[in-house]
């Protein structure tokens, strides 16, 4: 069953077509990867889905309802959460407060303060940050900042979670931990759509991969199909 569909998704920045008539589907429960060289339009696609940028043409449909045109807070309430390529934490607030704010405001249902506190503690435990609860977010090392973004996104109780290069800048051990986290999130029943440059990670956790190049979708398939596709090899390695 499809959870998210894009129909002829197009985004122009002035004269530049960042995305051109991209059609895509994300199925319920899967881990879908989005890859492509720099400037391919991956983050732009995420920004359109999360409502951060207005769509130029086409539409994005979530669970059968059009979400393009809604504001990010409304899309979040529908059950779509994301992380950011360069982390956008509330750096002057504690780790706990970062997650707590998302628990309180992430759903349409009113959440009591005690409930939000309990949820925030549970989520910090889940991503392995409970010992840093009272630390200011800006004092965390990079790997933990990325984890905190994941915890904050999870606190909004999403059904679709988008990771924008959540493994970039991590060492091999941290990448392995992060892959494990993605697998655990998927076991919770949350659909994952992730942009990643770490090929080992994306090949290891994704069921399906979508390849963007110059704003167009050029390939789609299982990790094996993508790894052996001449077209993909050509854009990544040159002719």
């Amino acid at each position: 069953m499809r959870i998210l569909e894009g129909r002829k998704v197009t985004k122009h920045f002035g004269g530049l077509a960042a995305l051109h008539q991209v059609d895509f589907d994300i199925n319920q429960g899967e881990v879908a990867g989005l890859i492509g060289p720099n400037g391919a339009g991956k983050t732009t696609l995420f920004n359109l889905i999360s409502g951060f940028l207005p769509i130029t043409e086409g539409e994005i449909i979530y669970r059968g309802k059009k979400i393009s045109g809604l504001r990010p807070n409304q899309i979040c309430h529908k059950g779509v959460a994301r992380t950011f390529q360069s982390t956008k934490l509330f750096v002057g607030m504690t780790v706990f407060e970062n997650v707590m704010a998302a628990s309180l405001f992430g759903t349409i249902r009113a959440v009591s303060l005690t409930e939000a506190e309990r949820e925030a503690m549970e989520l910090l435990e889940y991503v392995g940050l409970s010992s840093a609860a009272t630390t200011l977010a800006k004092d965390l090392p990079v790997a933990n900042q990325k984890r905190l973004e994941v915890a904050r996104a999870l606190a909004t109780k999403p059904e679709l979670l988008m990771f924008d290069e959540v493994m970039a800048g991590l060492n091999p051990v941290e990448v392995a931990e992060s892959m494990d986290l993605v697998a655990r999130i998927r076991r919770k029943g949350i659909t994952v759509f992730m942009i990643e440059h770490v090929m080992k990670a994306i090949m290891g956790v994704c069921d399906r991969i979508i390849v963007l190049h110059h704003g167009s979708k050029i390939a789609e398939g299982t990790p094996e199909e993508i790894a052996s596709s001449p077209k993909v090899i050509e854009i990544y390695l040159g002719e």
Binding site: H77, F90, A101
Partner: protein, 313 residues
């Protein structure tokens, strides 16, 4: 001391101070009451400015617009309505004005927001001046006079309500949401916070206190015109006082405003020719050496010494 008794002590202390303040006209000299009225006015302006700008970090320079609207409301309605109603009307006028200014300007950020709010305030001042000079034919108005004790008590009431609001906002989920907006607005809207509504409403609430205090101060000055009512000085003072006091804790801006206002009073009487100069020097010293205001200084001292404590300052 356990937290229960501690909060009981704090609560008792606050009530005692309030009783002493409320009874002040009965035991203190009229001059002290008048100058305290002035200080309370600045505290209200600063604390209400901090309610919005301190947490969201949208630096507003429109305080004069809201203060002035309160003053003009008082001038227009003072003869027909009872005093408490006039004060409430002043707050309401500024609430509505701020709500619309907020809808218009809160999509701007940083420098653009600062300049826009300042310009709106100036626009109102000059438009009103033009209107009075060219349409009404007379500039300025008389305001119904009220005795000092009544003014003082009303200001004290507004002060208590402002402090209570600031305290509750700070502790509530809305305070957390406002801080999230101040820290990283894009992330805040992505975790479901409706930043537009929240910013506009908070801006309007903060403006309503400025309007109320303007409405009552007008009765003290008795004569007002657009230059007095919308004096840009009033837009800058809350910002400076908040910086001076520090905004991390609720009492920061309170002491900042109180000390600053008292200093202004002393300096203007003792050094009428140099007071602006001295004022400037004090401010520069605070900004250069006390980036977190007086509050930062107190907290540092509280934590034990002025030694640098960690590797990541």
């Amino acid at each position: 001391m356990n937290p229960m008794t501690k909060s009981l002590f704090t609560g008792g202390g606050i009530v005692l101070i309030l009783i002493l303040l409320a009874a002040m006209p009965f035991y203190a000299k009229p001059y002290s009451v008048i100058s305290l009225t002035n200080i309370l006015m600045y505290i209200i302006l600063t604390v209400s400015w901090v309610i919005f700008s301190g947490s969201t970090r949208y630096i507003s320079l429109a305080s004069a617009a809201f203060f002035g609207s309160g003053i003009y409301t008082s001038a227009l309605l003072g003869k027909t309505l009872p005093l408490p109603a006039v004060v409430v009307a002043g707050g309401l006028t500024s609430f509505i004005l701020a709500f619309f200014i907020g809808l218009l300007t809160l999509r701007l950020r940083g420098m653009y927001f600062i300049i826009f709010t300042f310009s709106v305030s100036e626009l109102i001042r000059h438009s009103l001046l033009w209107w009075e000079a060219n349409v009404m034919g007379t500039v300025g108005r008389w305001v119904v006079m009220v005795d000092h004790t009544t003014i003082y008590h009303i200001i004290l009431t507004i002060f208590v309500i402002t402090m209570l609001t600031a305290y509750l906002v700070r502790r509530s989920r809305f305070g957390l949401a406002l801080r999230s907006i101040g820290e990283q607005e894009e992330a805040a809207i992505h975790i479901g916070i409706d930043a537009t509504i929240l910013k506009t409403l908070t801006f309007a609430i903060s403006a309503s206190f400025m309007g109320a205090v303007g409405a009552i101060m007008a009765t003290k000055w008795t004569y007002i015109d657009p230059r007095i009512a919308f004096d840009p000085h009033i837009s800058f003072m809350p910002v400076l006082m908040a910086i001076f006091g520090g905004t991390a804790k609720l009492y920061g801006p309170v002491f900042g405003a109180a000390i600053f206002a008292y200093l202004e009073e002393i300096l203007t009487t003792k050094f009428p020719y140099y007071y602006m100069l001295l004022f400037g020097i004090i401010l520069i010293v605070v900004i250069l050496f006390l980036p977190n205001g007086l509050l930062g200084l107190v907290q540092k001292w509280w934590k034990g010494g002025f030694r640098r404590q960690n590797a990541n300052p």
